[in-house]
Symmetry: C2
């Protein structure tokens, strides 16, 4: 599938990429030191775009739902990430090339070589190989050796295809076996890499001057929110459900980062942890507000069936028929969709894909990704995982902290259970120093065990209990010390560990997709193919208004300054371009920066205080007095109007001198 | 000097601190894991306060002056920080206690013990020791042993005092000698610590899977801006002066962090790098706008004289008389002052202190700190350093990158200089493989050297040049291969490395000072001493409006929801408190959160859509219709009006039931 620009013309990634760098949307970090893979800096327009997206995110999620935003540290002591499972499980498999020392990601390596052989087979069979869409989820590296046209046996082709279909499923040992079995060699050296070893993706450091306090840079912002759960619940005056949220940098030490901004080692995340009672079907009180929103959903079963031609379905229906597990998960999928729409994601290039069981993170019970289509393939930009009670449970178990909700019951409930009574007066003196240990062990006995022991006690007049650390681990307790009876108890409160629904946004990836989705060239409108345009919605555009004096004539200066101050007072970001370049060139530069509006200050302006306002996308202009121009700008920037409305309201302007260098239309 | 609250009453830090934690402004990170010194999380109100301050900072600096904001990575390859001097010089001296393994900061240790001895001496002499103001710049730890009343000889007292006066000047070896000479022992173990060793304050890690790519977490955001200088200049269309700016986390591995939020290991910085031509006195085009602003300036000389009673002086005068070196530095000091004022810093608790030569960072040529007064003493919250051309020069030298400005000269200048001509046809063949090396060495010769060599050539018919790596390092070149002549050359451009003025804001420190500066209790107004108030200006307050329905009566719900939506549409953050607590308790909670305004929804509201609006600071209320209430809120939040204006415009309300639980006045 070929990717297209916003106007449906063929998309050339290299051209866009060179424009983005030239306009300093982003740049490889430390480039004068030859850079470091996977690290990128945002220049002024990228930084402003990012800030605007974050601002909208905060309004759309945090303010709209009174979420509790927190700012936690990136530095994290090792113990927390050990408990969360990241120290043991957040790893990829890597191999070393014994000849040149290259470090290779094992699954990518197997995938590349097998694909290259299949390609060679097709070539040998005379099948034309279609330009295949790249998929950075599979992070393909350009195979160094060109696929040789070697025909494979049919059975081998089938075997390779089967391996590739489940490439995400293999562990290190299995990947090592595949490398041996198929004699896979590094094209750069022609030798087989060493067996895969696990490489943890977290950056390690030491906190404080002694080396015995290891720490990591967080790989997600979530843990900071989980360990503060009890305080957040208290802050929320014990009311459930509620959500915390956090915007901040996270870090993943990728083995060999590629695909530009899509796979980096330091990135901005915006994460929500929505805590919900696991009982009662995880209903959401505002679900009805989104129930009619239509989404493209690609569930597990459809993926297995190989079907890709997907219909839109309302989230209400998807939850009703069980495609999406519950209302809370469905609510957030719809809210994510609305957010992506608002910031300018192409509505024909978005889908929600459910994770297959084998690709889920170690903590997730279910997960849907919002994927955006780009020239690299479908990119996971927002994950929406049901982490169940996993994190709160493991942290509570490790620390003893009360990471649960205690709920007052409207109607008390009665519980029938086996209760144990110890004759404390005799028990302590009888067991002496072991008394406390034995008592604790007895109190920890399960209901099933208690029932069995009650029968023993009745039958034998004594019971035998397992108590670690006392004698041989078996302790006998006679009936004069203990009684076990079935009784009824009344409970006025209920305790539960909330489940967590986690919408998690990779801001850098979203940013990159916005570039591809909003890019086109004037060529598609019959203009200059070399002139790029980024048609960001005005709300997210880095700068809203460009102020362009016709020339360096002194009489324009006070007007420019005045307009600039007035826009600032309205909270609308503007830039002045008073360089000596032609009007056309100056507008052209700002089309590439995605500036939606331009005001030209000319001799007429000096005379009568009227100005022209130019629309980036159509390059059309209107002319009006200052107040009308400002009113138009405000309504365009806050989204209450579109350019077509403005053209109806204000007189269209077609001044020859200004349009001279604009594209012919 | 005793610290006071906003109302001039004595300040109790423990009370404020416990309130800040209870209201979740901040909390030690990972507290359920017993925390880690120097790491703090911001809860919802702290996070909102921080976001509002950042928002104002961006408007006050970045938008106001069209600064180029960038977002660079915190992960930094070691090479960059080696070049910048941080790997070698960004360190403190630490000692190990051989008995218990304690790690001690050497300068703090010497300081503490000597001060403790001096205190003991005073006690022995019967002098009352005044409660001394703590100074976290000197990071005092509570001395474990209480000072024994031991009288010292007068000469010893004088010696100790001299050592303490220059405690910041000693290197590791000297600190070690002091420890030996005065037999300083760790009170915890009664043994002498081991000799001091340098401890670099940067967190180290490895970037990528091989261990040969060491990196650090940045200790400041500045380096990311410097290495991108050439691109930023290009983005700014080669116009000088200009500034870049960056807001982001930085990291310093403090040996033993103390003083709560004032000395932490991970912190938010906002830094500006203003690039200016070093020639022409570093004038600033907007200096006249700030020239009349009065600042409290504590310069180097005044500090030496011991004078502390400082007068205010206009920045115009301070630059004119040379107290502040130049207009650009002066401009930023004034702008920093205006910013701090805007966000709510107590104007009687701010001063600008010039660094003494010995306390300046390794890169700084001059530096003024904006210091804010707190219960910990005067705290450096904003540094304003003149980093001269230090950073651009070292990075350019290391990488060969063009980190300079090339300026077209209006009038070409003529330069008379010694020029060298080599007879290339003969030169290369004569020196063979060494030819290029010798040529490079000759071209690098200085004007002075060229002049001397010209005379040698005339006198001897040959010259001797030092060329490293060729023969014995001396190369003879005869006059048939070389000519050296004095000639005139015309230059149309000028190249220079800009100087950098760097205002650098520690946001966490500013936040803490705002807490102390805006805190008071109702006791000062004759109310309940236990009721704390944080009188943040409405612009920075975490939440602007509290919505309080009188009770849980169903008839209030639609009104509350409606008001809440309308405030959101106005971009004004609000919270609903519909808990069952009394109105008084609910307001009291929000006084502690610093919420400036409260709207009560009562039965009258249901009848006639009028509401009461409450002022946090005076607890007074007005009652009016919805539109008037919203207009009042808007003008208070945007700072165009104060409460006194509102009281004049709208009828004062004194409903008994609502005030019942408010403090008696």
């Amino acid at each position: 599938m070929a990717t297209t620009t916003l106007k449906g013309t063929p998309f050339d990634r290299q051209v866009l990429d060179s424009m983005l760098r030239r306009r300093l949307f982003y740049t490889p970090s430390f480039e004068i030191y030859n850079g470091t893979a996977g690290l990128y800096d945002y220049g002024p327009p990228g930084c402003a775009l990012q800030a605007n997206i974050i601002d909208l995110w905060r309004k759309h999620f945090v303010l709209e739902e009174d979420m509790l935003e927190v700012d936690c540290t990136a530095l994290t002591p090792a113990e927390i990430l050990k408990t969360s499972g990241h120290v043991d499980k957040f790893a990829d498999w890597m191999c070393k090339d014994p000849k040149n020392g290259d470090i290779i990601r094992a699954d990518h390596f197997v995938e590349e070589i097998l694909e290259s052989r299949l390609k060679g087979d097709k070539a040998a069979r005379g099948v034309t190989v279609a330009a295949k869409e790249e998929d950075p989820k599979k992070k393909k590296k350009k195979t160094k050796g060109i696929a040789e046209a070697v025909k494979l046996e049919d059975a081998v082709v089938k075997e390779y295809e089967e391996v590739l279909a489940k490439i995400d499923n293999y562990n290190g040992e299995e990947l090592g076996e595949l490398i041996k079995k198929y004699e896979l060699k590094n094209p750069a050296t022609d030798v087989q890499p060493e067996p895969p070893v696990a490489f943890n993706l977290m950056f390690q450091t030491a906190i404080g001057p002694s080396s015995n306090a290891p720490g990591y840079l967080r790989p997600e912002t979530a843990q900071g929110q989980f360990v503060n759960f009890a305080k957040l619940l208290e802050f929320n005056q014990q009311q459930m459900p509620f959500a915390s949220a956090s915007i901040g940098k996270s870090f993943r030490n990728e083995i060999s980062p590629r695909s530009g901004l899509l796979r980096v080692r330091e990135f901005l995340m915006a994460e929500i942890e929505h805590f919900v009672d696991p009982e009662g079907g995880k209903k959401h009180p505002r679900f009805h507000e989104v129930a009619d929103i239509e989404l493209v959903l690609l569930n597990k079963h459809t993926q297995l069936s190989g079907k890709t031609d997907l219909d839109k379905v309302t989230i209400g229906k998807a939850v009703a028929d069980g495609t999406v597990d519950n209302e809370t998960l469905g609510y957030f999928l719809a809210r994510i969709h609305l957010f992506l729409k608002k910031i300018g994601v192409d509505q024909s290039k978005i889908r929600f894909r459910q994770h297959m069981a084998n690709e889920m993170a170690h903590y997730a019970a279910d997960c849907w990704d919002a994927e955006l289509q780009t020239s690299y393939g479908w990119i996971e930009c927002v994950g929406c995982a049901d982490r169940s009670a996993y994190d709160l449970t493991v942290h509570a178990k490790k620390t003893g902290a009360p990471l649960f909700v205690r709920e007052r019951l409207d109607k008390p409930i009665t519980i029938e259970e086996w209760q144990i009574d110890l004759d404390k007066k005799k028990f302590g003196p009888f067991f002496k120093k072991d008394g406390k240990t034995i008592e604790t062990a007895i109190e920890a006995l399960s209901q099933e065990k208690r029932e069995a022991l009650a029968q023993d006690l009745k039958a034998d007049g004594k019971i035998t209990v397992d108590v670690e650390g006392v004698g041989n681990g078996k302790v006998e307790v006679s009936k004069d010390l203990i009684a076990i009876e079935r009784r009824t108890r009344t409970e006025n409160t209920r305790e539960y560990t909330p489940n967590v629904i986690e919408p998690s946004f990779g801001i850098g990836r979203i940013l990159y997709c916005l570039f591809e989705h909003n890019y086109w060239t004037r060529g598609s409108d019959g203009g200059d193919e070399a002139r790029g345009v980024l048609s960001f919605p005005p709300t997210v555009a880095p700068t809203k208004v460009l102020l362009v004096p016709l020339s360096s004539n002194e009489s324009f200066k006070p007007l420019v300054k005045d307009m600039s101050l007035k826009l600032r007072a309205l909270g609308i970001s503007s830039r002045v371009d008073d360089s000596s370049a032609s009007i056309g060139k100056r507008y052209s530069r700002n089309d590439e920066l995605g500036t939606p509006l331009g005001i030209t200050i000319d001799f007429q302006s000096v005379k009568d205080k009227t100005f022209t306002l130019r629309d980036r996308d159509s390059t059309k202009q209107v002319r009006a007095d200052e107040d009308s121009i400002f009113a138009a700008i405000r309504s365009l920037v806050d989204g209450s109007k579109v350019w077509a409305d403005i053209e109806k309201e204000l007189p269209v302007f077609e001044g020859q001198d200004l349009e001279a260098e604009l594209p012919v239309r």
